[in-house]
Amino acid sequence: MAPVIRPSTGVGFCTPGAQAEIAERPNAASGEHSDTRRITLTVNGEQHDLHVAPNAVLLDVLREQLGLFGTKKGCDHGQCGACTVHVNGRSVNSCLMLACLQEGAEIVTIEGLAESAGFEQGHHPVQAAFLEHDAYQCGYCTAGQMMTAAAVISDDSIDGDETSLREALSGNICRCGAYKNILDAVQSARGKMRGGQ
């Protein structure tokens, strides 16, 4: 049985109690704005009623209001891919997305990736392949890499040859330079998920 990848608690520190406290602070994700909007976000299949600041980006709401620390903040400017999540089945950079605009969308984070695709939590073929191929060093970019990889693998318009995959994955930077193993993992997961296609 493949080992389970647990949602990371992130580089930050947050006891469950502290999380609850943050969640009650309506404007935690921006800290600057007093007017909040009430929105319903569907994250990993669960609906959440939230008070969110107009300028809060999805990344901060996921981490600070919902306590989903698997999604990482690398650059906060669309330049690294660490914050990649799925919105309506497509990979996106959650650091450049307003949370308020996602009302009604289906959002999937690394914590819900496996279950969203019908696997047991932590057992998405991409997760298993990353473990098998040692496709990380520090692990900071890993959640984003896996979210992009899963979307790329299920995208019929992206071919499985090395050039196409490298191009499709290029929005996810790995400071540790684990690219070779990442590519191996993605190719292996793709093979398992799509067979010869």
Partner: protein, 329 residues
Amino acid sequence: MRAFELESVEAIDQAVSHRRVHDGEAFIAGGTTLLDLVKLDVMQPEKVVDVSRLPLKRIETLEDGRLKVGALVSNTELAKHEIVMRDYPVLSEALLSGASTGLRNMASTGGNVMQRTRCPYFRDPAMPCNKREPGTGCSAIEGINRNHAVLGTSEHCIATHPSDMCVGMVAAGATLVLEGPDGQREVAFEDYHLLPGDSPEREHDLKPGELITHVILDAPRSGGQHYLKLRDRASYEFALASCAAIVNLDGDNISEVRLALGGVATKPWRADAAEAVLKGQPATQENFEQAAEAAFNDAVAYSHNGFKITLGKQAIVRALRDATAAARG
């Protein structure tokens, strides 16, 4: 990130009438330019108007053969639309060479037209910049200007226009449809972006309160097409020099040619001088090189970006070679 008010609109007239009332308002579509720049404090909207739910997400063929693209069609959808891949490959290739898979899923057609320069001084509010704060001076002219433009510059600003999509559209030929408080108007795509001149803060011909609703691509030009993008790394990087080429052959001679350049100019650049050299001439390496020379006749190099003139010429020659090969089939 600074605070702003957020208003969502469901209808085009709502979006347009909004901005008539207030200055200091900005639309948001994908958010990949706007939020980046608000976080840097380069753009400081008091109010953001969410246009992402407007019914501008369709791609349709018009009776006259042109292709009408809604402003909210994403860069991914546009690049991978079957008609675009078949009839406007130069545009599809340009789009797919830009940004990353995730960003292209978010980026809209209208937002891409409106994206701002990546000049590092523009992106840093601590530095003088005529585009961000008119009259403060240009930090790039005497500064680190390796990524800056060599065509269309002025003594007030030398910032490169960063878009790949726009270069593909200039080559393919297009018209922008704008909707404003005073009704609808159309602008030729090539005339939309402005040269910096003495007012680099004015970047385009969009009047206060106007919204881009569509881009209409000219009826497809037959012939071979190619977009070549040269940059510091092979992917997820802006162009140092790029060239969109569409070539039609009559035997061995070039009957029609459209050339546009990116990465080297202050706006998406139509290389008409190069086109004039090629028209009616044999499609040879020598003529390609002469066309490339003509394209950079008026180029002005600054301390760190002289290499772009050489690189730009090579981009033209290579793009022409590939487009010609495609035209031969």
